[in-house]
Symmetry: C2
Subunit: 247 residues, 2 copies
DNA sequence: GCGTTGGCTTGATCCATGTCAACCGGAAAT
DNA sequence: ATTTCCGGTTGACATGGATCAAGCCAACGC
């Protein structure tokens, strides 16, 4: 009979893979600020991991809500549909961010969440999250902060849509992406866009042609280098100035 | 010596005035769905009532956060300021609605809340609300719903700002106000605007002249009757059609 | 290797809304 | 009663971004 040790190692590897306590995103995600002990209790709650292929829905508007989702890897967009067919991208989400908070309000999802690349998510049953956060003050407080942050983010987008012109919007968008990639240990200056010009346009309240023209303009002026979805930021402060100055 | 009875009555009147359990907004506000017993525990928490005069700030962006606020009577706007001086109204709030949720995220308020008429608010110390909602499941869940509803509302505004044209935006705005007045027992068809054309414009991402022209247009077409801030809606379905149809 | 396809770029033109300016009317101040 | 002021309305004109249209490029299937 073979020694049990290798087997145990394998099992323990699997456990490591699925646990918040060993997730390298834990400082960005729901577990932020929890003690080891508290982390383990959170681990128990997150039983389901799921792979979502590029183009597939994580959930659809109208579906009944029972979980929120933490992105373990990959990239998503959320969009809302109006009766008359118009739609708008309401956000782009990356690893460590939460999806589905909109569903708490009515017990039904109010937007679609679609993977922009092959992704992996952790499903967090919401009633169990509520009951655990009644016991773990840190978890409760952090969850409230995450929801509040979402509200603040939305206000930022409203500001952008309400007061900024096309180039300012795109500059703000690029700087925001750059900052979020940095927080995840990627280059702040060089990244691949996971979304099309049309999706960027939808998010920013612009047509895809306008987005494309703004990219070209930024390139001409030496702020960035664009090659399709590959972006290099050459002049961060230039972009910032462009965003803030009323010209 | 006079009988103590009148005195007691006076005291009890004061208590009635300040308690959630006797507030006629309790079904719209935080106490929604609580039992009598739970309501009384919430009463203990809401010690501070405050009057805010028209034009005064309830809080300012940058101030440190420790309470959220329930509007007992009156009308508020919230606005965000950009470094370069641009600002935008992010919402209008009426009786029964909560203010200050944006502050949870960073422990500092991120917008200004300004009374548009003489108003009265209940201050709810946030750490005490968190600790009470660890004990009262209903309170916890309802609070989560309220935050989520705010996120959904913001998505609606993003949709409006990103995809609708001027008249559609104003129609959506009027219908939303009408619906909220109705929920508070006021006429759905006739109300006074508490905000200026400029504030409406800021909220809707339009200039005040555009707002004014849209009002005039609606009046010409017989959808509404406008006289300064007094609005009568004459044709709800007309407004709805205007909002939904891609023309 | 060649054609097809989807996403992107660029140019020409149009139009909704912004901008600038004049005027109006009611409310508050003198 | 008169003046001032603020918010609102309306008109003339300017413009940023939408729309329409053509063409380009890279990836992919055959």
């Amino acid at each position: 009979m073979p020694s049990p040790i290798p087997l145990n190692q394998e099992i323990s590897l699997t456990v490591i893979k699925t646990a918040c306590s060993n997730c390298n995103l834990r400082e960005l995600c729901l577990p932020f600020g929890l003690s080891l002990d508290e982390l383990e209790r959170l681990d128990d709650l997150i039983s389901t991991r799921r792979r979502i292929k590029r183009g597939d829905h994580l959930y659809r508007a109208g579906e009944s809500f029972d979980s929120i989702y933490a992105i373990r890897s990959g990239f998503f967009k959320t969009d809302v549909l109006l009766e008359d067919g118009r739609d708008q991208v309401t956000g782009f989400q990356m690893a460590g961010e939460l999806l589905g908070l909109d569903g708490i309000s009515t017990e039904h999802h109010t937007c679609n969440a679609i993977a922009l690349e092959d992704s992996e998510i952790c499903a967090i049953p919401f009633n169990r999250l509520e009951s655990l956060s009644r016991e773990i003050h840190n978890l409760q407080h952090h969850f409230h902060k995450v929801m509040s942050r979402e509200i603040v983010r939305d206000h930022g987008v409203m500001m952008l849509l309400g007061t900024m012109r096309a180039e300012e919007r795109l500059a703000a968008f690029l700087l925001n992406l750059s900052q979020r990639f940095t927080a995840r240990g990627f280059s702040h200056a060089e990244f691949y866009l996971r979304m099309t010009r049309e999706e960027i346009g939808s998010y920013l309240g612009l047509k895809l042609e306008t987005v494309s023209r703004a990219f070209s303009k930024f390139q001409e002026e030496g702020y960035i280098a664009v090659q399709q979805k590959h972006i290099r930021i050459l002049n961060v402060s230039g972009l910032k100035a462009l965003m803030n100055h009323r010209c």
